[in-house]
């Protein structure tokens, strides 16, 4: 009885859509949008043959490669600095966490302004003797510029995850390292990192999943452009489904996304979070 309300909503908004996506991906809507015909795997064949989808997958993968290593390592460094008893630590924590609570739309707009052709970042580049670049308008840099926004928004979030894990590292290990005369760097390399390995792995899977789902940054800043260079899979699905009304391609691409994310989630649940989800 208690479960019923939750279960009904989960069925309507998760399970039915889940199977619906799979069914849609096997139907052909191109001839008549009201009377789709069964199409077998032909949608998938078209999808996988299409150059656009291929570059979408490549962009998504490149985006993940830019974002994940950085978010796995750098927030840990920040967390180690924050995990000290020095003055003003609370203020630092609040300021570094701030971008996490601000809407991604505003963050993306703020960066769009930093990235402007005659904007402040190009000014800094010229100061150090580099010609200004088209952060969001040059196909070589646009994806990287978008990734930078995702990184900026994620640092505080993953820092907090690391911070709570750092509290669990036994203090006597640091003292032992002190006795051996280890400096700060060596101490963290030999004590902190091995102890935090499970947390690092967790951050890798969690940040991979959210990198695969990137959307708002792209929608606000580039709309997938220039020349599709920032089109990732969720943006592709959005465009197919809600702008081109191409339900077949949209759902076939959705199934691809589903499979990839489910793989990451299964790794995540079985290896890193099994405590939370044990019966």
């Amino acid at each position: 009885m208690f479960i019923l309300p939750a279960l009904i909503l989960l069925v309507i908004f998760f399970f039915i859509p889940f199977f619906y996506t799979i069914i849609l991906s096997f139907k052909d809507y191109s001839t008549d949008i009201y009377n789709p015909v069964f199409a077998g795997f032909s949608n998938y064949v078209t999808l996988l043959k299409s150059k656009e989808f291929y570059s979408t997958l490549l962009n998504t993968f490149l985006f993940l490669l830019m974002v994940v290593p950085f978010l796995a390592v750098f927030p840990l460094v920040v967390a180690i600095f924050i995990n000290q008893k020095i003055r003003g630590i609370n203020l630092y924590k609040v300021l570094i966490y701030l971008p996490v609570v601000v809407s991604i739309v505003v963050v993306a707009i703020a960066f769009k302004w930093l990235y402007a052709q005659e904007g402040i970042l190009n000014y800094f580049l010229e100061c150090i003797g580099i010609n200004s670049i088209g952060w969001l308008t040059d196909t070589r840099f646009a994806l990287f510029s978008v990734a930078l926004v995702t990184i900026y928004k994620g640092i505080g979030y993953y820092m907090m995850i690391y911070l709570s894990a750092l509290i669990g590292v036994p203090k006597d290990l640091y003292e032992a390292a002190d006795v051996d005369g280890a400096n700060e760097f060596v101490k963290h390399l030999t004590v902190t990192i091995p102890h935090l390995m499970p947390t690092i792995a967790l951050v890798v899977t969690v940040s991979s999943i959210s990198a695969l789902k990137v959307f708002a940054e792209i929608y606000v800043m580039t709309k997938g452009g220039p020349l599709n260079s920032t089109k990732t899979i969720v943006y592709y699905i959005y465009e197919r489904a809600f702008e081109n009304l191409d339900l077949s391609m949209a759902s076939a691409a959705s199934v691809v996304l589903l499979i990839v994310i489910m793989l990451f989630s299964i790794i995540n649940i079985t290896f890193f979070e099994n405590k939370r989800y044990k019966l």
Partner: protein, 281 residues
């Protein structure tokens, strides 16, 4: 002694740099928003403290954009999403934590499975279902709100979070209440909920932030500007004032004031809370 001083010095230097970088995009937005029409916002070198300081951009954008309406919409959607999540998650978590019944493992697995389904991959069918149920703004404002709220009214993370909190409550307390003739519902309401209020607070705060910042779903379902939430309204600024960065900047800054106040008031919960609710992706 010197080593200790150096360590403290580098720590502060690093953290000040980090804090500055984290504020920098907003500082630059504020600076731009405060510059009057006579000042070049593309000046080389960039000017941080406006020479022609004015609040005109703020008042100008305030008069053209119904920010109060967007605040109100965001608040209604976020508040109801939070309330429904708290009720449904804690209700569902109770039997999963405490009762033994047929099919419990099956339901448990079902709930767990939804964690693996990303909304982005099912948004098209969710949209079609919401259309079928008439939960869109073209059928009326209330239905429009429901369409924004209901797909996010329950979430497996919330259920598992509450379940863990219930598991930590000693069983003896419920047994004592049960012997005193307390009904199962009252045990949930009068014993378990008060005892797990810190977790409920964490769930409330993170659901609120998530709902407040949600952009993808509202931008798909909303057609009527009367229902725009803040993120959708702010994104709209770009189209309305295409090259007027003073207005776009001022509007963006106005839009983040409520959430910044909320964050500052609740900062203690954020710090302790993310540990529990951390992995919400």
């Amino acid at each position: 002694m010197i080593r200790k001083f150096l360590k403290g010095f580098t720590s502060h230097l690093f953290l000040i740099t980090m804090s500055f970088l984290s504020l920098f995009p907003f500082i630059w937005l504020i600076s731009t928003a405060l510059k009057g029409n006579s000042e070049n916002i593309f000046a080389y070198p960039p000017v941080f403290i406006p020479k022609d300081l004015t609040f005109e951009n703020f008042t100008g954008v305030w008069h053209q954009i119904p920010f109060l309406l967007y605040f109100l919409n965001s608040f209604i959607v976020a508040a109801f999403t939070v309330i429904l999540n708290l009720i449904f998650s804690s209700l569902a978590a109770y039997p999963l934590a405490r009762m033994n019944f047929k099919g419990r493992n099956f339901i448990f697995c079902l709930v767990l499975a939804t964690i693996m389904i990303p909304f982005q991959a099912i948004m098209l069918p969710v949209y079609l279902i919401v259309l079928k149920l008439h939960l869109v703004d073209s059928y009326g404002l209330t239905l429009g709100y429901l369409g924004l709220i209901l797909p996010f009214a329950v979430n497996a993370f919330g259920i598992f979070l509450m379940r863990q909190a219930f598991l930590a409550v000693p069983k003896e307390m419920e047994e004592a209440a049960f012997i005193d003739g307390c009904s199962v519902f009252n045990i949930w309401r009068k014993i378990l909920l008060p005892l797990t209020s810190p977790t409920l607070a964490v769930l409330a705060i993170f659901t609120f932030i998530g709902s407040w910042g949600e952009f993808l779903w509202p931008s798909i379902v909303l057609t009527n500007k009367a229902l725009y939430t803040l993120p959708v309204g702010v994104n709209d600024l770009q189209g309305m004032f295409s090259a007027n960065w003073r207005f776009i900047a001022a509007g963006s800054i106005i839009s983040i004031i409520p959430i910044i106040i909320f964050f500052i008031l609740m900062q203690k919960h954020f710090v302790s809370g993310q540990t529990e609710g951390a992995v919400k992706g």
